[in-house]
Symmetry: none
Subunit: 256 residues, 2 copies
């Protein structure tokens, strides 16, 4: 189960934080670390701070973009310190732990953490199905990135332990995916969906590509939180295709 959960660190500046994060996740029984475009890696400082978790560093996967890190993940949860212009489905750390536990039984789950100074960008956050916020002090809420990894990984472990004790019943109920009939599509398919959606809206004259305003972000939030399954995905792609066919037909009819 824990083998399905990966910690993704985006653009980390300080090797010490990578090392501390590796140690943090390993103490909680996790093993998978993915580094998106780290400033410096490998580094002796990271190894020193990883302490007994140097194997996690040695096995860490390095990728260039967040897209690559989460491509095969039907559930992506991103750490977010502040509230955004467009609110997103939010989890607290405990809920994130429980949801990760539940879904990791079926498919890969990514827990994503951003840069030391400014976290994840809006664009990156919009690639996540949920945002997780660790309830913190109103005046001083800035957890160190490794500390945030520690808390979330701790909650994953607690959810796992509670689950083992209680049996097959989840301590919390989530409306989505508990016993779904079809596989949930991974992030890479969703990227294709969003590209298709945008193209279809442009073709049909609904979206001005030169002035999209908030629409792409709102569409991302809307369809992203659906966590759609394969059949639903194909249905919606079919509708988008149909819109494009109609737009083309109009153009040709007008010409002819």
């Amino acid at each position: 189960m824990f083998s399905h959960i990966r910690i993704v660190l985006v653009n980390t500046s300080l090797p010490a934080n990578i090392g501390s994060a590796a140690r943090a996740l390993k103490t909680m029984g996790l093993r998978q670390l993915v580094l998106v475009d780290p400033k410096i890696f490998p580094s002796s400082e990271a190894t020193a701070l990883a302490s007994g978790a140097s194997d996690v560093l040695a096995n860490a996967k390095i990728v260039a973009t967040l897209e690559e890190a989460i491509a095969d993940c039907p559930l992506v949860i991103g750490a977010s310190a502040r509230s955004r212009t467009i609110p997103w489905p939010m989890l607290n750390a405990r809920e994130a732990g429980e949801l990760s536990r539940i879904e990791s039984e079926k498919h890969p789950v990514a827990l994503v953490f951003g840069r030391e100074d400014r976290g994840l960008t809006n664009e990156e956050l919009q690639q996540c199905h949920y945002h997780v916020h660790i309830p913190s002090d109103e005046e001083y809420g800035v957890l160190n990135v490794a500390a945030a990894v520690q808390v979330i990984a701790y909650e994953v472990r607690m959810a796992h332990l509670a689950h083992k004790e209680v049996g097959n019943k989840s301590v919390m109920t989530f409306s989505t995916n508990s016993a779904w009939d079809e596989e949930i599509v991974p992030a890479s398919d969703m990227e294709q969906f969003f590209a298709h959606l945008e193209a279809a809206l442009v073709d049909s004259g609904f979206l001005d590509p030169n002035n999209p305003r908030q629409m792409p972000a709102r569409m991302r939030r809307l369809f992203g939180r659906l966590r759609m399954d394969r059949l639903e995905y194909n249905l919606l792609r079919g509708i988008l295709g149909r819109m494009q066919v109609m737009a083309k037909e109009i153009t040709q009819l007008k010409k002819g």
Copy 2:
């Protein structure tokens, strides 16, 4: 209430850990740090890692022995990694958070953390009323001292938040939509949406009204679980309207 809870670090070797611990406790709303015979303090490294929590370091109390640090505390909880020869009353991190919260309303509470390499001595542990253990990996359970402070302080904060909300809503409940920017549309609007969706799919030739199969049900499940807000609702209705306009245009162009 939090003013009654102090974090006590015993014989810490690395200034970095003191700084990180200061930051960790401050992010969770705690403010009191007591250092028992620190190897090096003050130190620029501690200050650097404390980040915005240098006030916690500046106000830290330095004492020579654990006795002094806990002298006025009716509740002392000590972090313990391993099980001891003499079993002691044990709490997990969550229980420690809750107990600290309860008792801190009445009197000072000390949460004590030991040395980086070997924790608290047996003698020190025996000065504690309870031991707290953070459930960790069987093979690799050694949390960094600042990481341990982060987890325990986090549980203190979670206990506090849960307590504040008692009676109406607990922090444990699923909090999607908790701070949404727009009202969620009621069921009656959704009925209009589904009627509109079906009409648009029929008009555009995607849905055969004489043989709809499972599609209406799947669409209901899909869009129903979105819990869409007013703005999203209007956006989607706008797209459906656009589809109908296109279908009409095609019919007219074909006629003309």
